[in-house]
Every structure is written in C-alpha cells, then in structure tokens.
Symmetry: C2
Subunit: 421 residues, 2 copies
C-alpha cells in the first residue's frame, strides 16, 4: 500500500483523487494539503478522498508525516514548491509532480537528490498532460538518437490560434478562451511562450539529452498574430501554430518557441483546440508523433496516476492483470455495400427488399456515371446495424441473378466526440 | 555490462547490431545465432558485431552459454521460437523479442515463466515497430481506464490501400509492394489480417487488460477492395484503411480487423505509406494518438534497443545522462514577413532594398485586394536565411516612414522527408 500525501486540491488534485479512487491501485491518499481546507472539503470531488485522510493547511504535516510514502505535488511554481520537494526527497519520500517550471529549472539537481536518497522523482504530467510523451520518449525511444523535438505543448495558444483560423481576431478569441477557462486573466505565461519553453527544456533533457535553461530559449509572443496572417498563411498552404522546437546540431542546441507558419501537410498542423502534439525525429527510428489532450484535470490526472502506479509497483514494467475474455467480432455500425450488377429494371427494388427483410435501413445510394450496363457498380450505405445481420443480408443478395461480382461489405468507422469532460 | 545472445541476423537483427553499436549502452553482443553463418558474416552490418562474438548455427550454443544475460529473439513464429524462449527464461536469462505471434498466443504463460525466474520479458517491438505504443500504454497510460484501442498496425496493408487512393488497382499495387520489399511473395498474413490481429491481441492485453486469442478475432481480407471503392469512399468524405479495433463493453470485447471506411477527419485517415498509428480512448484521458514508422529494420531495432536498455538498467526509468549545453535561438529558415503600410510609390523597392542590404532573398510577394491605401497589408516570404539576420532587417524596416504597424516576422517550418533509410 502506497500512502500518498497530496499537495494541492484544485482541478488537477481533485481529478487525481477521482482517478485514483477508480483505479483499484494499491495506493491511498492519507493527507491533503491546501489553503482553505473547510471550503475544499465541500468540493464535489472531496468524496473521492478516503474519509480517514487528514486535511491540513500546514505543509509540514504532510512532509513530516511518517505515514506518507509518496508526495504528489500539484501546486506548481518554483517557490515554495522546490523547498517542499527537497524536504520530501531528503526524508526518503518518493515524489510525483506535474510542476514543469520546477523540473525545467531545477530538474538536474532534484534528480540527483532523489538518487542520493534512493527514491523516485517522476513528472510525466509536466509536459503535454495526458499525452504519454515523457514515458514514450524516456522508455520507448531510449534506443534511438533523437536529433529534434518539436510540437505544440501549450493548449491555450493552440486554442487561440486554431480558433483564429476561422477569421476571428486575437483579442476576441483570447476573451473567449478566458471565458471558457482555457486562458488565465493574465495570459502572459501562455501567450508569451514562457510555459511552452519550460516544457521544451524538459523535452530537450529527455529526448536530446541536453540540459538547457528556459531563460536561454527565445520566446516570441503570439499576441502580434492577426486574422489576416491566417489568410496569407492559407495561400501558402500553411496554418499558424505556436511551435516549440529544439534541435541538436554540432554539439549545440537550436531552440525557440513562437508562432510559426506550419505547412498543412505537417502533423503539427493537425492539432486543433487545446490538443497537444509532440514530434520526435530520431536518427534510426525517424519521426514519431504523440498527440492528445494536453491539459485539463482528468487527462493530467491520468499522467499523475500512471506515475503513482509506477512508484507503487517499483518495477521496470507496470504490469496490470489481464483477464481472459470472450471476443465478439459483432458490433453495431453503419456499412458500405458495393455491388457490381448487370443492369436491368428492378435491381434497386430487389436489393432494397432484401435489406428490408433483414431490418437494415438504407442511408444513401450512390451511383457514378460512365460504366457499362453489363458491369454497373453502385453503392449503398446503411444506417447503423449489426455486422452479422448485414453480412447475412449481403450473402443472400450475392445469389441474386444480376450480381456480376460478390458484393463488398465494409464497416464505416464513426468518429466520436472526445469522451473527456 | 549486459551480454546479449542474438537470435537472427536478418534485416532487424543486423539493424539492431548497428543501433546497439551506436548507442554507447553498457551492453554487447557475445553470440549470434543464424543459419548460414559464413554468408551472414559477410553482411555489410556484420562489422557492428564485436570481433570476439561467437557466430553459431546451433541455438543451444546461445541458450546454454554462461556469458549471455539476455536473449534477443528476432526470428519470429511460434515454433521453434517458443521452446527457445522458454529455455532462456527458465535458465535465468532475460528475453527481448519482437515476436508478435508468440506474445499474442503465449504471452500470458511466458510472462508467468519470466516472473517465476525473476527475469524480464520485454516485447516493445512486437507492435508498431518504432512507435513506442507498448511503453506508452503500459507506462504512460496505466493510470487511465482504456475502453477502446484502434489503429493501423500493418504497414503492408497501409501501403497498398493508401497507394490505391490515387486510382491504382489492388493487384498492381500489391506487385509494386512486393517489388519494394513491403509485401511477401505470399502476402496472405498481411492482407488477410492475420499479422494485424496478433498485434491487436497484444494491445488488448495491455490497454484493455483483456486476454483474447487471435483465433477468436474476425479478420476480413483487403484483397476484395477495388479502386472504385476509393472513389465512392471519397464521395462519403472517407478513405479506406485496414483498421484493427478492440473495445470493451459490458465485460466482453468487440474486436475485428479488416478494411473499413474511415472519415477523413479521423486521425486514422492520416496514415500514409507504411506508417503505423494507434489511437487509445480512455475514460479519463480521452483519445491519445501514437504514430510513426511501424516496420523496417532501423525503427524496429530502436524498439528492441530501448528494451535492451531497460533490461540493462533494471530500473523503473531509463535515465540517460544529459549534459549542459549552450542554446542558440538562431537557425536558418524561410520567413514570413507581414507589413501594414500607408501606400505610396516606392514602398516595395524600399523594403526589397533593405532586405537586399542584409543579404535576404525574396521568395514571394503576396498582396490581397480590398484594403484601404492608408492601411495596406502585404506579405513577403523569404528564402532560407538566419533568423537573427531577418530580425535585424525587419527592425530597420520598422523605422521606415510608411510603416503603420510593427512588421510581423514568423519562421516558416519546413517539412523534411523522413530521415530513415
């Protein structure tokens, strides 16, 4: 049982409590530190904190507690977080943190401190929230020599710039972003690139194995970009994104953060809304893309929870139990049916009749010109129905006398809305 | 020092030797097993195997060797590989393998055997080659509850189907794929979906924590898809891909592999050529996308090498040394310059002159209609030049009397060709 002292019960902290409660992991929260404990205990997600956990406004109560094995720090900022985490590591407690500024500026020293005290310091949530780029790079790409890392690591800027694509001006979109809670009242850390460059330095350490200081990375603000720039960018087959980019060349690092024109064919142009995306370019493995939800309580909490599991299992692989399960290839989906027929009257009626007999509804019927009557292709798309049903119907139709080829039946994938809140 | 016994010196095995030699990792090859050792030793990448390594045609020489800590198996197939790896694990050797059939069919038992003998069994290369989806999911997303995993895990089918998009017929493209070495003489394992469904079962175990048998997963061949289906798919705002998909619902798994219509707005439609892509959908973290080179010697060797590093360091985190490095924000790139001027004769000449003075070449000049002469925006794109130079030039131009706004200067990202061989 891993006993957790949680520092911070805001959006991410309370989401973490929920994700932990749902996880079944051998870990539980024993302490919660936050200002205004009385108010925090009325938070709708306070119910996910075990009833016997201690809520406190004194951080020492957590840092000095004998029944805390791992401190989870979700407050951010260099000071006082640095002192807290140094105290935790020095007293033999593991640390999981989402604090990008701290890891970017002080990571090197803190890793040494953790190693000295034989404890773990994990920070998977510090870059790109719920996108597992940190474990993906540190574990899965450790065998490559990564030369460049680039991407979109600030959801606020990505929301603003991808919204401006449809013609809105910066000031209008910024206000909307503030209304939606995507941007702070003082948006400088995001729009001026200070948040992104801290994350870029963390990525540079991991991917390029280069220790660089955020203060040395030039950052250009997105505030000067206007709607008209998107019109010109479009003409150049580009869009505009806040890109963070670092590359090793001849023993030095080229790094910068700022709005850049991105060709539409680049994966970096795919990101919309608050999405994050990181692209690594390796000497042997080529380009690898990671993308997903970079911010928000739940996605960030997933990264924190993954680190907590790793600490809890103290093994190279987080191996979760898998249970034997039955498989069904059947599901409900719309379908694409393509027929090649020898044309004659009554074909559509006959096919539609066969589908109706099986209870399959037609969504659309497509027929292109320019084919001979002897080999006439046409297509029917169906409303969602069981795969097994439509396969049975198609099999029966395959025997109809005007069929020149076996009909082709393909499932049509449906794109869901993202399921996160 | 981790001593490696390498089983198989084909494309992946020889690439692994090269990647290992370049890695600086504390690991070396002591044994190579392959048929036709005399011929293999003349392979151009045989030079990456240490001169004192033992080449053998008897697998027992590797499995029984006292100076092998880790067996790296890159031959594939269930039999005889299963017996070899059981012998290796039972004699206390770690195993790293790229064998998807073995892990899909026998993974459960082999993991137990490894645990019993307190050794590691890693298989990061078994799914999606160089794309770190296995460490990404097992480590980075272990904190989420993944409900669905879908994607493109067979590069051969993706090459065939994405080539058919431009109008070619299946048989023609298959021949081309065979000529390029992307498809085997007997392409059944790829086009009929048998390769993909083994990978899907591995992903289901990791992501959905469901143990399912490849034999239970329906697989539809792509051989029946014809060029005309792409024309119809396009009309439906879709393309066609071989999709592998598994989803947990009500305690059962829905899984299938086959060609499906994929909406163009889905990330799954982005994959071209031999690229692989996996999308996981989590309860808390939403959709996460992994993409990159799924096959080929070097990308697959990166995944193998990453596992070897993990075995070698036996720690939760493969922590590679990072060194302090200087940062330059300067690099050579094309630029986008946007001016807002009060129109008068000679403006272009004046700006062009200023750029020429700094040695910056103009690539294009864009000016849209419909703006007033008092606030006329226009855009210049430059040929690649130093950022610092263009910033100096723009600063000087900012003082020109007709400038109504500070000029905006943005770097234009250049999309490289993939850098793998």
């Amino acid at each position: 049982m891993l006993r957790i002292g949680l520092l911070g019960f805001g959006t991410v902290g309370s989401s973490f409590a929920e994700v932990l409660a749902a996880s079944g992991a051998d870990a539980r929260i024993t302490h919660v530190f936050n200002r205004g404990v009385v108010r925090k205990k009325t938070h709708e997600r306070a119910k996910f904190v075990p009833a016997d956990a201690k809520w406190t406004e004194r951080v020492e109560d957590v840092l000095a507690a004998a029944d805390v094995d791992c401190v989870v720090e979700l407050m951010g900022g260099l000071d006082p977080a640095e002192g807290w985490l140094r105290a935790a590591l020095s007293s033999g407690k593991h640390v999981v943190t989402a604090n990008k500024q701290l890891i970017a500026y002080r990571g090197g020293e803190l890793f040494e401190l953790a190693a000295k005290h034989n404890v773990q310091l994990l920070y998977g949530a510090a870059v790109a929230g719920g996108v597992p780029v940190i474990p993906g790079v540190s574990q899965g790409l450790s065998g490559d020599q990564i030369r460049r890392v680039s991407g979109i690591v600030n959801g606020t800027c990505n929301f603003i710039l991808s919204s401006m694509e449809s013609g809105a001006e910066y000031a209008t979109v910024l206000k909307e972003a503030q209304r939606l809670g995507y941007a702070e009242a003082n948006p400088a850390a995001d729009v001026d690139g200070l948040d992104a460059r801290a994350k870029l330095c963390i990525l540079a350490r991991l991917a390029l194995r280069a220790e660089i200081s955020p203060d040395d990375v030039p950052a250009q603000s997105i505030a000067q970009v206007s709607a008209i720039d998107f019109a010109y960018a479009k003409e150049l087959d580009c869009t505009i994104r806040q890109v963070s980019r670092a590359e090793v060349e001849d023993g030095a690092v080229q790094a910068r953060v700022g709005p850049m024109l991105v060709p539409k064919i680049s994966p970096i142009a795919w990101s919309h809304g608050t999405q994050n995306m990181v692209v690594t370019s390796g000497r042997f493995g080529g380009d690898v893309v990671f993308s997903g939800h970079g911010a928000g309580g739940h996605p960030t909490a997933v990264a924190v929870m993954s680190d907590v599991r790793a600490v809890s299992l103290r093994s190279i692989k987080v191996r979760l139990p898998a249970k034997k399960m039955a498989v069904s290839g059947d599901c409900i989906a719309p379908h694409y049916l393509r027929f090649v027929v020898s044309d004659r009257p009554g074909i559509v009626a006959s096919i539609a009749g066969a589908l109706a007999k099986y209870g399959v509804n037609i969504d659309s019927l497509l027929q292109h010109r320019g084919h001979t009557a002897a080999r006439l292709p046409f297509v029917i798309t169906t409303e969602p129905c069981r795969i097994s049903t439509v396969v049975d119907a198609v099999q029966e139709m395959g025997t109809l006398p005007f069929m020149v080829e076996t009909p082709l039946c393909l499932q049509i994938l449906v794109v869901d809305d993202p399921e996160t809140d």
